[in-house]
Point group: C2
Chain length 415, copies 2
């Protein structure tokens, strides 16, 4: 029997290039932050995790990881207990105040699953209950975007997309490169009728593609209600049209379009109210903030029991996160919608062999035990140096946005 | 890496001696039925499970088990899929129509966990997320009972218990033998005021023992409401006082005593209605009918999220079931009440080393990987011969009851 007790946990912050993608909170900065977690067992097996790289998460990880030596990599209950003893409180995040505990647990938990899989010759999807699909389908994730960052002078490979035509061009490139079926539009940036004109252009260009729009809580209830007739028959689901469970429940009560969320049902404690109020009929799960792969599998079961649709949310991320998402999705029978991913927007990578490839819009699980990925230490070092050099320690889309549009003001709801 | 694909699944029905214990449905027959499941891997490791022994479950297992060859013991999703393809429908059970599928899955699933644990040198509680308690607390499970079966002439070791004094004597013996703290009274047999007199006698004899009463749906809503003032301050929880979610919700609305159930929230599909109606505030889980250890762990998480108390239900069982219950409970952080078990009423055993022992009312997990128990093949053969000889193939408490009390009639609610 291999000795799977934790000998050491290492956390390396990295920064990788990120394009100027727009959302309700502003514009992506030139670098996105992430942390790479390595859990090394007494037998020298290294399990990998990937999580947020903002200072609050790094600080919390710095408190927790020294307390994990000696734990078996299967002991998730002890991970929760030890993390709970060290980490309380919240950080200011995209959706408001976000609890640190499940984020810190998840960062380590994925690496523990990977280490257990590598130690026993099992894939993570097998340890999560067994693979139910050969490949995991992802959706094209469209963003309004600037042609280049304010610090650059030449357009990036994607160019600008601030009009319906620009979105169609972006979607065509995304589909040509990766073969995605469904198309999601990040919205809440332009006046809603312009964004819906974008959806209509996408529908005309891609008659069979399931469409989604995500205003990130950017619309008032009244705006959302006004727009429902235009959205009916056009979209597969409507993601976070307005703010909060109460507000979205008012919108859901007025439409058969399922409302989806990754903003207002983001932790266990939001589930009872959501079920009681029928606010959201689709949950975009995310193992990075739900507390890891075990908690996400449990969330999947809850969605199944309550008849709630299930898909996956994404932030800018590397291949370790993509592999973890794919293993979880592969082991989740009731994955009812193609998953989101920012991955096509990323050009850097920390895993050996470079970026994982989608085929016909889907990802085949990487070969091998655990998550099936290993670290490219040269790239890790380079991206860590990026982190040290870039000077960014907290994501701040609003400040970045004002460099492009000085008069821009944050509002949620805004329209 | 060990080859943990399933080579063979064996099911052996057994019958073991059971005392004449009374409940709302009648009287226990002289033999209780169980099935012993052995999952053997390609490497020759044998995982153990224990489940119901009634004909309907044996028939369903006979359909499913030949379809499992080649499955990895970690592939619970495939177990569900293959079982679903073979097993539909329900059987007539204690609580009405009971779905066969989760019962069949559970029978095999526990043995798969045991095989995986034995193959990788891990205990089942470790594979379920890690041990959170050194020992698992159980409660004394009191029954009204006859002195002996109708076929015997001498009282058994416990003697009769049909009066408050008899119950106190039974409780004293149970506590002396095993050290249990909480006391549960199986009720719904005698007129309710007699049963409450029994509770009062127990309270007088054991001033500090948490008390519970389980009428098994034997009371009308009106009776339950009438009795609430007498029960307030006397009991820890009130189990299934009346029939159904609607009826019990009426009772729960009238009292701060938590209502518990193992009769009306017994499958995933009952959870949304229970949460919406606030019918039961405690669920007595049972991995034998919730679909196994993984599903039961998920149930535990659901209870935690919705603020529902959690304990465990029991039928007459052997040490394999007790070990599985203990591993599950040991890995469940939010086990809020001492578990039920019929185990002290059983004198036979199928595991090596004989019966597991409670210390101060709690069970220490058996040593060793998997569930920590192995089969005593001589005892298995003897109890299988019992099964062949006893002629019982379906539990029938009502017919047995009428042998003692010819005028007895089943009623639920009855009082």
């Amino acid at each position: 029997m291999s000795d799977t007790r934790i000998a050491d946990v290492r956390v390396t912050p990295i920064a990788f290039y990120d394009p100027p993608l727009l959302n309700n909170a502003g514009c992506h900065q030139p670098f996105a932050l992430r942390s790479i977690i390595e859990v090394e067992t007494e037998d020298g097996v290294v399990g990998l995790g990937e999580s947020y790289g903002s200072q609050a998460v790094l600080d919390a990880l710095a408190k927790v990881t020294p307390k994990l030596a000696g734990l078996d990599v299967t002991d998730l209950n002890a991970l929760w207990a030890r993390a709970r003893a060290e980490v309380q409180g919240e950080m200011q995040g995209y959706t408001g105040n976000e609890r640190l505990l499940p984020r810190v647990v998840s960062a380590v938990e994925v690496a523990m699953w990977d280490a257990f899989g590598k130690s026993t010759g099992r894939r993570v999807c097998d340890l999560l209950g067994g693979q139910v699909r050969e490949t995991v389908p992802f959706s094209a994730y469209l963003f309004y975007k600037f042609a280049h960052h304010i610090t650059a002078s030449e357009p990036d490979a994607w160019g600008a997309a601030l009009t319906p035509e620009g979105l169609v061009e972006q979607a065509r490139r995304m589909k040509d490169l990766h073969g995605f079926d469904a198309i999601k539009l990040k919205a809440g940036i332009l006046p809603p009728d312009e964004e819906i004109a974008g959806l209509r252009a996408l529908r005309a260009a891609f008659p069979d593609a399931p469409l989604r729009i995500d205003p990130n809580g950017g619309w008032t209830v009244a705006t959302a209600l006004r727009l429902l007739p235009q959205l009916t028959g056009l979209i597969q689901y409507l993601e976070d049209p307005t703010v909060g469970i109460d507000g979205n429940a008012q919108v859901q009560a007025a439409t058969d379009i399922p409302l989806a969320t990754n903003m207002y049902v983001v932790a266990n404690e939001h589930l009872p109210a959501n079920m009681a109020q029928d606010a959201f009929r689709v949950i975009l799960s995310d193992h990075h903030y739900w507390g890891g792969l075990q908690a996400s599998r449990e969330l999947g079961r809850i969605c199944d029991i309550w008849g709630i649709g299930l898909s996956m949310h994404s932030n800018s991320h590397m291949g370790i996160s993509l592999a973890a998402m794919a293993h979880l999705a592969a082991a989740t029978p009731n994955l009812t919608y193609d998953c989101d991913t920012h991955y096509p927007w990323q050009t850097d990578e920390v895993i050996e062999g470079g970026k994982l490839a989608f085929e016909a819009g889907s990802l085949r699980l990487p070969d091998g035990p655990g998550l099936g990925v290993t670290l490219d230490r040269a790239e890790l070092a380079r991206l860590h140096q990026n982190y040290l050099d870039c000077g960014i320690t907290v994501r701040d889309d609003a400040t970045e946005m004002k460099k492009h549009w000085p008069d821009w003001e944050f509002g949620r709801p805004k329209f």
